[in-house]
Chain length 365, copies 2
Amino acid sequence: MENEFDSVFPKSYVMKGGEGPHSYAQNSTGQKSAIEAAKHHLQNAITKKFDLKAISASSENLICIADLGCSMGPNTFIAIQNIVEAIQLKYQSQNQSTPEILVFFNDQASNDFNTLFQNFPPNRNYFAAGIPGSFYGRLFPKQSLHLVHTSAALSWLSELPKELTDRSCGALNKGRIFYTNAPSEAYDAYQRQFKMDWEAFLQARAQELVDNGIMACLMNVINDIDFKVDLYLGKDFELLGSCPMDMAKLGLIQEEKVDTFNVPLCSLISSNLDLMKILETSEDFSIEQSEVMDNNCFVIPNIEYFVSRLRAVLEVLIENHFGVGIVDELFERFTEKVREFPKIMDVPKLKFHLFFVVLKRKVKA
Amino acid sequence: MENEFDSVFPKSYVMKGGEGPHSYAQNSTGQKSAIEAAKHHLQNAITKKFDLKAISASSENLICIADLGCSMGPNTFIAIQNIVEAIQLKYQSQNQSTPEILVFFNDQASNDFNTLFQNFPPNRNYFAAGIPGSFYGRLFPKQSLHLVHTSAALSWLSELPKELTDRSCGALNKGRIFYTNAPSEAYDAYQRQFKMDWEAFLQARAQELVDNGIMACLMNVINDIDFKVDLYLGKDFELLGSCPMDMAKLGLIQEEKVDTFNVPLCSLISSNLDLMKILETSEDFSIEQSEVMDNNCFVIPNIEYFVSRLRAVLEVLIENHFGVGIVDELFERFTEKVREFPKIMDVPKLKFHLFFVVLKRKVKA
C-alpha cells in the first residue's frame, strides 16, 4: 500500500493563496462563469445518471463527494452547492430522506487550505473535509466516493514533459513559455503528457469510486486556433513569455532559466475530440453525457483585472522557477505590453469553449 | 441537519502556527512526552478493545480514524502512527490483511492546516484528510468513525464561562487569568463549563462512532494542588497573569480588557475522579480502561524554552483578546519574572499527571 501515498507527481502548481488583490480567490470570475454555464448540465446529470439504488447498495446513509483541484474558493462552494441541491431534489422526488453528505475538498498540499477552511459556508448542509495531494495519484480509500467533480483543474499537467525542461535535450521550447506557435515537438510533448495524466487520473478514480459512481469533469477546450489573425487563444501567454526574455536580455534573470520555463497548462489545445478519444478507450468508465458550451460571458473590465487574473494563476509557478523577487517587475512589464496591445483583453472574441463530460464507473466484473 | 454545522461554540483557540521559534510545532515537547507515555496503553487498548468482528460488520474494507484537536504537528503523526501500527499488528495476528485506513486530522478552522498538510509523513501507510471545526459539535457523518483519538485537546474549554467575561456580572476572576488561587465562584464556573463541554463532546461522538467503536482520550490532570508551597501547578499562569496587570497600571493596555481575560484551559484542576464521574453517567459509552500516569519526564533546558512553550499555546489567544502588538512586550516582562523566580521552571517537581481513558460506543438498542 505504501507507494500509493508517495505521489510520483512531485510538481505542485497552486493558485495564489490568501485574499489579497492578486489572490486566486479575488481573481477567478472566469472560472465562476464556467461553473454557472455548467450548472444546468451538472444538475441534469445527477438527476438522470446518479443511480440511487446502485448507490444505496454501497452506503445507505452517506454520500461522499470529492471536488478535485478545488483551490481556495469561492467557486468550489458554488459547484458543490449545485451538486448537493440536485442530490437533495432527487431524494425528495422519490420521497426518501437525503442521506448525510460528506464533501472532500482536494488540492495540492501547498494550496492555501487555511483560506479554504476559514471560508467554508457557515450554513452548509454537508460535512466538509480537506484532502491534500495530487489527483493524478490515489487520494481516497477504495470504493469510498459516490460522486467526483472537477472544474478547470485537469487543465494542469502533473508535470512538464522532460523534453521541455531538460537543457541537455535542447530545451525544445526555447524562447516560449507555452505551446502556441511552438515547434511541433513541443506541442506533441505537451499532448503526450496530457494523455498520460488523464490515464493516471482515470486509473486512480476507478479504484476510489463505487460501482456506478459518477464523475463530472468541466474543462476549457478549443478545437482550432487560427494563428493568422492577430488575436488568438494563447496570445496572452506569448505576450507574457516575452517579458522574462526581455528581462534576460537586460541581465535581470538568467537566460537558461527562461529557456526551461514553460506553463504546464494544456487545456487550450486539448480539443474535446482529443479528450473523447482517451475516454473512449477506458475499461473502467462509460461516457454518459458530453456537452460543449460557450464560455464567452465574462468581460474584462480593465487592464488591472486582466493582469491580476493571469497573475493569480501563475505567480506561484513563476516564483518557484525564478525565485522570489521578479514577479512584480515581470507583471509590470506585462501590464505595459497589454497597454500597447489592448485588443488582447477582448476575451469574448476568442473561441473559448467549455467541455463538460459525465463518466460512470462501470460495475466491476 | 443544518444547525449541526453551525457550531454553537464560536470561540476558537488554536496553537501558534507556522514553524517559527514561537510556533507550537517547535514548542510541544511536553505534549510529545505525554504521547510517548501513553503509547503502550494506547496500543494495548487497540489490541484488547478494538473488536475486529464488530468493526467489520460496519465496514469490511476501511477503517476511519479521527484525531481531534490535532494542532499542526508533529505530535499528531506520532500518535496516529502508534495507532496504525497496533491495528496492523492486530490484523496480522489474526492472519487477515489490514483494511485501508483513512485518518481525519481535526482542529479549529483557524488552526494552521497548511503547515499540517505540508508535513504529512511522506511514507505514511494511510490516507489523510483534514476536517476543520470544533469537536464540541458534530464534525462527521453518523456512524462513520471506527476509532477516535484525542490528546491534550480536551483541556481546552469550548468557551469561557460568561461569568468570567461579562463585566456586568462583575467579571468574577478580576485580577487573575486562571482559576488557581481564584474565588470559588470562578473555580466553579470553570468546572461547570468543563462538564457541559464533555457532555457535548460525548453526545457528538456517540453519533459519529460505529457501534463498538473506540475512543481513546489523553489529558493532563491533577488531583490536588497545595497552594501553601511556593511552587505549584498554575503558578506559571499566575506569574504570566501579573504581566498584563502591570501593563494596565502603566496605561499600556486597558484595565477592563485585563479583567475579562482568562485562559480557557481546565485540565489542571480537573482530577481524573471528576472526569470519571461525568463518564460514568454516559448512556452511550462504556469505560473500558483508565490509567493515571506520571508526566514528569520532560526537562526545561532554559528560560527561553520555558517562555516559548507557554507562548506557543497562548499567543493567538492573547492577540485575539488584546489585539496585535502587545505579545512581545508581555512575554519579555514574563521572561524577566521567570528570571527572578527560576524555580518555576522545575516542572518535574510538580505533581503532573496524565489521565488516559478508553471508551467504547455501546451498541444502540
